[in-house]
């Protein structure tokens, strides 16, 4: 039933996937890169090659830093399937994909999953109102379509928040305010790791530059302790509480939320790979060795999908996994591996600081209000989840059956960690002991006719 066989299949054409493909093709391995977007770059270097001809300066140096990698990838000679989504990997390493209305099965000796990160949900009151968007979503519109909204309020924490605000003001858009929810306790727990972060002086300097230029044009309010978005059928405004206890109302039509990114684990989980709970970063990540090899000997995880490290670290892990695979084809590249490992460690030096600084406080991880929605797809509120817990649901999968949370289109990507933490709070068990939703294929949307196309043409 298999249409094609490759030595290496790389899923995702972000920095990790692109770098991996450059390495495997250079070693002469028959490589395919599968990506569900129209062009390479992933989220961070989205639409870079198209933007490059116009080179809007507002996207900034950190964006154009991906130019060389994108060009190298375009020239590397890997098979590259765009607009193509992987919906299942079987235990016999068949990769089920769907592209342009048709499903297909391919096989590979080695698979590199490089599906990146997703934004952590920020379930403040009103977060599901029309007019509220994630900062990542706002940035995507800017990169992909040069679209933005004036007078938006940015809420949350993390580097992506500030980068996007910076890109917004450089693009000439007005920003009403930035509400930074990083608390004093996060600063305190992060500070001991600041010396390590100085191994990345350019990253710190870049952050300082963004902040300086933002402050010249935008109110940046720090230590924000509560946020509520108000509006009946769409956003009308928001109110926030400062550390001094003052409550302030702000009219707004657009609110952009962000509080960091977490590994996108749906494919690795659906594949049945082992995962671990990272208590410091507060997310699930696949269990891997230093080269990204997962609990399945033939499958590697590279990039933010194996633990968030940022674009530069992602590219290095792509090279690491790829060179490990090259080595298993009898072409050991010990020096290269050592070099990649050191570079990776170097890029990770800032993570202990950032992970602690930007771990959201609990009032931003779990809704504070009974009516606030937790599962957007099935419109399940906090009160519904509490009701299910009261009826005896003891784990995320049981809770699905009780409340329908996590049973919609997004397959729990948005609500998974919230539900898990609510169960942990209720039962007193650790997050690791509670576990996560059982994720099932198809991990990407597929229509009946597309699925049936493995058998033949859909009946007329």
């Amino acid at each position: 039933m298999t249409d094609q066989h490759f030595q290496v299949a790389i899923i995702g054409a972000g920095p990790a996937g692109m770098a991996a493909a450059c390495t495997t093709t250079k070693a002469g391995l028959h490589t395919i890169v599968i990506d569900d977007q129209k062009d390479s770059g992933g989220q961070v270097y989205r639409n870079l090659r198209a933007n490059h001809s116009l080179s809007p300066t507002y996207l900034g140096d950190s964006y154009y830093a991906g130019t060389k990698l994108s060009n190298d990838f375009a020239a590397c000679g890997a098979n590259y399937w765009t607009d193509c989504a992987v919906w299942q990997i079987t235990s016999s390493h068949e990769i089920a994909l769907v592209s342009r209305g048709e499903a297909k099965l391919i096989t590979a000796d080695y698979i590199i999953i490089a599906t990146g990160a997703i934004e952590r949900a920020m379930p403040v009151k009103g977060w599901t109102l029309p007019g509220v968007m994630s900062v990542g979503g706002a940035q995507t519109l800017l990169k992909q379509a040069a679209l933005g909204a004036d007078d938006a309020v940015f809420v949350g924490s993390g580097p992506l928040l500030y980068l996007t605000v910076w890109q917004y003001i450089k693009a000439g858009l007005s920003v009403r305010a930035v509400l930074d929810t990083t608390g004093r306790s996060q600063w305190l727990s992060a500070l001991p790791f600041a010396p390590l972060a100085f191994l990345q002086p350019d990253m710190l300097a870049m952050g300082q530059k963004w902040l300086r230029e933002i402050r010249q044009k935008v109110d940046v309010i720090t230590n924000v302790e509560e946020v509520e978005i108000a509006g009946r059928s769409q956003v009308e405004g928001l109110s926030y509480t400062t550390s001094s206890g003052e409550r302030i109302d702000l009219p707004a039509k657009h609110v952009f939320l962000h509080q960091g990114v977490i590994p996108n684990i749906n494919l690795s989980m659906a594949t049945g790979l082992e995962h671990r709970w990272d208590q410091k970063a507060h997310y699930w990540a696949p269990v891997t060795d230093a080269t990204g090899k997962s609990s399945d000997e033939q499958i590697y995880i590279a990039g933010d999908g194996s633990g968030v490290g940022g674009a530069k670290a992602a590219a290095i892990t792509g090279q690491l996994s790829a060179s490990a695979i090259v080595a298993r084809h009898g072409k050991p590249r010990l020096m290269a591996q050592l070099y990649y490992k050191l570079r990776h460690l170097h890029f990770l030096s800032i993570r202990p600081f950032l992970d602690r600084l930007y771990l959201p406080e609990v009032q931003f991880r779990i809704p504070q209000n009974d009516e606030t929605i937790i599962c957007r797809c099935e419109a399940v509120t906090k009160a519904d989840i509490n009701g299910a817990l009261g009826s005896g649901a003891t784990g995320p999968n049981q809770l699905k059956a009780f409340s329908r949370a996590g049973m919609g289109r997004c397959q729990g990507r948005t609500c998974g960690l919230m539900v898990q933490e609510m169960i942990a709070d209720h039962t007193g068990q650790s997050m690791a002991a509670i576990g996560y939703y059982r994720i099932r294929p198809p991990v990407k949307p597929i229509t009946l006719a597309e699925l049936a196309s493995l058998e033949g043409a859909w009946p007329q």
């Binding site: 068949e94 059956a401 294929p441 009946l448 699925l451």
Partner: protein
């Protein structure tokens, strides 16, 4: 409910020696229904499950409630169960527990029509009249979206569907209200006859019982072995998909003569499509794996019946672990040693039977004669052959 409970307590107080509780192994639909009927009749019951209530096939099956297409030997039990389904709301204190519609297996070609013809003849000879041939014009009138090429079908009025997890859970909740005790997750390590009663050894201690009921589904053969009964089942993982919500267009459950399909539309507009295509089951690890080609096969069959669904998205796919016997009939009856009662191996069509099986197993525990002939389900039927 309180009055029944009080009565139970007073009955027990009057007995000289306290009776040992009935131990039921497995909290799927069969175990929960058996616990319910036993509790209702004043028996004290402890249900053990290595996972939790409705964790496997009972919680995640397609939810078909059908008499249609059953093995002739199974029809009397299915009819008894159907009596309970018709009063399921009162029985379990729920609303809309059973969506009574009609169930039709359409014939897509002459081979399907021939199968249908001989099936109806066979049933009539045995005295059953619930399955009827229906002409294509009539089917199209009742199900306007049905593909034009079908040439008829076999139909049972009053069959329909239910939400399997909800019903299993409701049996559990009512059993608990009536005094049954559920201990989960507790796994049974051995079942031994000691002196004059059974001792059930679990990972958290021992239990004494006069009667042990084995409702352990795909794991039933392991329990049977512990009491010296050789009752082989194979674990398989029948696959299902559920789609995005669609405008309501279907108030029937659809199957295909000679094919693998079951298709229904839930109240929220989602369609559940299944029909017995098997994924890979790993009962030791509690894991299942879906097979892409298998999924595509029954989805294609859905397309042959409703071609207008081509662009409907699949939300989820899943599989539950179920135990299959060599003749696809369940094991229901007494084990080779006194006090052991088996009820497993339903081979992916046990959900509808659930209430009937609960009644029958409760009868066996209480040494009553069941209303239906259960000899075709004899636990010893394979070992006798050899």
């Amino acid at each position: 409910m309180a009055t029944i409970n009080d009565a139970t307590v007073s009955v027990r107080r009057n007995t000289a020696a306290p009776t040992r509780p009935v131990v039921i192994i497995g909290a799927g639909i069969q175990g929960c229904a058996t616990a319910f009927f036993l509790s209702q009749r004043g028996q004290s019951v402890i249900v053990l499950d290595k996972d939790h209530v409705g964790r496997h096939a009972s919680g995640v099956n397609a939810g078909g409630v059908r008499r249609l297409g059953r093995d002739i030997n199974e029809i009397p039990l299915s009819l008894v169960a159907m009596d309970w389904w018709h009063q399921i709301n009162q029985l379990l204190d729920i609303e809309d527990g059973f969506h009574q519609q009609f169930y039709v297996k359409v014939a897509l070609d002459d081979a399907g029509a021939n199968l249908a013809g001989s099936r109806i003849q066979q049933l009539e000879k045995a005295g059953f009249k619930h399955e009827k041939w229906v002409e294509p014009e009539q089917l199209h009138r009742r199900i306007p979206h049905l593909t034009k090429s079908i040439i008829g079908g076999v139909l049972v009025e009053g069959d329909g569907w239910a939400l399997p997890w909800r019903i299993t859970r409701a049996f559990y909740e009512q059993a608990v209200k009536l005094g049954a005790e559920f201990r989960t997750p507790v796994s049974v390590q051995s079942v031994d006859y000691v002196g004059d009663h059974w001792q059930v050894t679990t990972n958290v201690g021992k239990l004494e019982a006069d009667n042990v009921v084995n409702c352990a589904g795909a794991w039933g053969a392991q329990i049977a072995k512990m009491v010296g009964d050789d009752m082989p089942v194979e674990a398989h993982a029948p696959m299902l998909v559920v789609t995005d919500r669609q405008p309501l267009f279907l108030d029937a459950v659809i199957g295909v003569m000679g094919g693998t399909l079951s298709l229904k539309q839930l109240d929220n507009g989602s369609m559940v499509i299944g029909g017995g295509m098997r994924g890979v089951a790993d009962p030791d690890q509690n894991k299942t794996q879906l097979t892409p080609v298998g999924l595509s096969k029954f989805v294609m069959t859905a397309g042959r019946v409703f071609s207008h669904l081509r662009d409907v998205s699949i939300l989820r796919a899943w599989a539950g672990i179920e135990g299959y016997t060599a003749d696809n009939l369940p094991f229901i009856g007494r084990g080779s040693q006194p006090g052991i009662i088996h009820g497993f191996g339903f081979s992916a069509h046990g959900f509808q039977l659930g209430p009937g099986v609960g009644e029958v197993l409760a009868d066996l525990v209480m040494a009553r004669q069941p209303r239906v002939d259960i000899s075709p389900f004899a636990p010893q039927r394979f070992s006798k052959l050899s």
